[in-house]
Symmetry: C2
């Protein structure tokens, strides 16, 4: 360690994603209150600024990079375009916001067939239209490497309807929308050319066309049914870690309760994988995780009445005791696995 | 042509940028009025949506891609970060808007030294801070290819202060801020390892650290001193073509009037290049081009009194006669060269 000054410079992959993010945040420090109108800066699912006396604007950006987030041989162009919209609307939904606008920044290899750009835009426009989002602008440039679709999404939310990651308290129950594991298993199936297995089509669909939980997120905000909320882009374990950390709590996930996509369970079992670990760490599901005090169950019932699909499952609890654990079938408590690191 | 169905698919580079943009716009069609609150969609320097009774939000996105927009051996990391901010603030300035917020989407090769990310962020934060812009969010992901800095900038403008590309009319005089050619010559000098020539340092600085004309653009909007305005990212010829097309006019540029950066003139002369053509087509200057009716010269004077730097130079006129021409020293009228095509 003492000799590190003379060594090769540290690379981003050696540093790791979390440390890199911390460094970047320190350099861009923008605490709420540091700028007039800033409500929430870097660190949540999306940023929030004041846009009127009783209106907040919510902004988020997320890139899909070929070879990192998708492969052209596994996803058709319309799937890629739709996915770019979905992952961003998921971030807005996690704040309780209504999605309104999108800007798309494309980086396109010169050799890409024009038909692929058409397909990409068709998928993007279709998914945006499905949620009432208008693509108002963007940018296009040549890429000397991967195809990149970088999308900025803008939404609106009333100040009292905003739900952040940071509001949870010990004792809050964690509820998860839909099922998990489908997207990760679907991707594995596609890579193994095995999407014909039982339940495989549903998993592949979960991977190729994630559904942002826009109606659910908005209703949670309107009903004020959660103290904290976030989306699951990098898996349940990662989300649980993050919501606990942001809320200053510990977290315990009940392994037996997990709503695992049936095709994913069958796939992992057949491969000899640990189904629970795979379901906790698999990414790309874009479900919502809510922290709900037991006394707010009535509000949650109202949400369920108004948005029946996807269902909500109680999967754990925020704890006073710091740390992140998973409660196993035999009553043993294991350390909750870490999330996905992008570097 | 009749056999094209059986041929190889057409690639984006074969189609060219303008045709590609037209295809994309057709797929994302979002005419003003097509969505509640949409004021200006794809096609201007930035998009505009209504954010309150008397407030518009202006949004733009622009990516810097390694190997396309910058080379790491020619620009230091802080220059790249600052540039990502500057090119976007230039788009907001071209609408008459006040810049407020930015989101930064980074795509980083795993082998990039952490110190380079630090430098990038420092330059970005410094340039944002210079113009009162707060970086409120973003995204970071691994890149299997180039380093990419994709920035979304958000500004505000009063409805009566908004200036688009489309308002020009025949007879409007075209005014250009600052000088042109510096950035293109500076880049050529860097590539030729010849930045030590006379006037070279100023040109290199223009390339490495473009200055967005934020105060000027805002003042033009406040004084309602231009009927149309845009920025010069791809050169004066390109901007003249675009402002004329958007305004349904022709355009004539007076070659003798061009405020060419002295170091750039000297550089091109020494290389035997046509200085006028080089100055018209060189990109990356980020000056503003204004269309001003002769009867509004008083308003323009007010702008000049309040924002003395950069100076404004009359460089041409919008014409009834369609087409784009350049008036040469000998009275000859040539066709105005085309702009830069990214594909």
């Amino acid at each position: 360690m003492g000799q590190s000054q003379s060594a090769e410079p540290v690379t981003v992959s050696e540093l790791g994603e979390h440390a890199l993010l911390a460094r970047i945040r320190a350099r861009l420090s923008c605490a709420p209150g540091s700028a007039d109108g800033l409500v929430l800066g870097i660190g949540d699912d999306a940023a929030v600024v004041r846009s009127g006396r009783n209106a907040l604007t919510v902004l988020t950006v997320d890139a899909l990079v070929e070879g990192v987030h998708f492969e052209r041989r596994l996803s058709a162009p319309p799937d890629i375009g739709a996915r770019a919209v979905a992952v961003n609307l998921s971030d807005l939904a996690a704040m309780g916001a209504d999605p309104r606008w999108a800007l798309v920044s494309l980086m396109v290899p010169a050799t890409l067939p024009v038909g692929d750009v058409d397909g990409l835009m068709d998928g993007l426009a279709e998914e945006a239209g499905r949620f009432g989002v208008t693509v108002i602008g963007g940018n296009i440039t040549r890429s000397p490497g991967p195809l990149v679709v970088d999308l900025t999404a803008v939404g609106e939310v009333g100040p009292r309807r905003l739900v952040t990651r940071a509001g949870g308290r010990p004792g809050d129950e964690l509820y998860l929308s839909g099922t998990i594991g489908g997207a990760a298993a679907g991707l594995a199936m596609l890579r193994a050319d095995a999407s014909g297995v039982e339940g495989g089509a549903a998993c592949v669909q979960r991977y190729r066309r994630p559904i942002p939980r826009v109606r659910l997120g908005r209703q949670v905000g309107r009903s004020r049914a959660a103290r904290a909320m976030m989306d699951l882009s990098d898996g349940l374990a990662d989300a649980a870690h993050q919501i606990a950390e942001a809320s200053g709590c510990g977290v315990e996930i009940d392994a037996e309760s997990l709503p695992i996509e049936p095709g994913a369970s069958a796939w992992w079992s057949s491969r000899g994988d640990d189904v629970i670990v795979a379901a906790l760490t698999g990414g790309d599901d874009y479900e919502l995780l809510l922290a709900v005090p037991p006394s707010w169950r009535g509000r949650l019932r109202m949400v369920r009445e108004r948005v029946a699909d996807p269902p909500l499952t109680r999967v754990g609890v925020l704890t006073k005791d710091p740390g992140a654990r998973v409660l196993c079938r035999d009553g043993r408590r294991d350390r909750l696995p870490g999330g996905f690191e992008h570097f």
